[in-house]
Amino acid sequence: MSQHTAHIEEHRDDEASKLGMWLFIFTELLLFGGLFLVYSIFRMQYPVEFRECSLELSVTIGAINTVVLLFSSMTVAMSMTAIQKNDMKKALLYIGVTLFCAAIFLVNKYFEWSGKFHHGLYPGSELMKLLDRGHHLYFSLYFFMTGLHALHIIIGMTLLFVCFFKMKKQSIHSQDYVLLENSALYWHLVDLIWIFLFPLMYLIS
């Protein structure tokens, strides 16, 4: 009997899935890009009102969130390095730290938003209706853009959670980590958007 070596040919193309992820990231960049464009046009028209509204935001919380996101971006990149070096323990630890940072970000966001809600400032509220056009536009853009960004944080966290459990089950490992890589790319995108949101929303002079 002739013996054939069992040969399992798995069809995989990591380069292609990475390219696909990048194409998706392009659509995300243009989505936020469009919002930034709307923001800049209205800021040009209402510079004084935008300045006044930005004073309502806490630069400290914004700065803390910036540091937290930058740090989490580094830890997710480190988790990639760890998995490439076949160091599963470290890879899991770094993903855990990233998820912890994401949670801190969301808690800060919660306090920021609930403070505004307490003062009756939320989309569609009576106070919002009384505001003049410039102030109204700033807060509408603020809630929409930071809200959409927070939604992206939650999606990124979900992806990283999935990666965490797949790594525990060994279905993501040093020979096959493209899912972690794509999730990490998504997480960096979230960081990238915040790099622009922070100075534009919080630091207007």
Partner: protein
Amino acid sequence: MANNTTHTIEYQSLSKTLLILLFLTFVTITIASVHLGAFTLAVALLIACVKSFIVLSNFMHLKYESLLLRILVGMVFVLFALIVAITFIDYAFR
């Protein structure tokens, strides 16, 4: 079979990148309180662009990716710059 060819970036290089990013964040916040007039926004945006370039090239591994991907990413930013420019021209001459 492993077919992922992503370059491995050392931990040290990643933490150095973070330090640079944190320094630039510090500069952004400090400059916002200094009066530079119309330049304040320009400086803030310039620093944000530098920061995103660092994130793209180091954290997102673009520095080590294929030329095709790097050109594609560059094109997206060129496209966005065009959209911004055309919209602003439209507003300026209305």
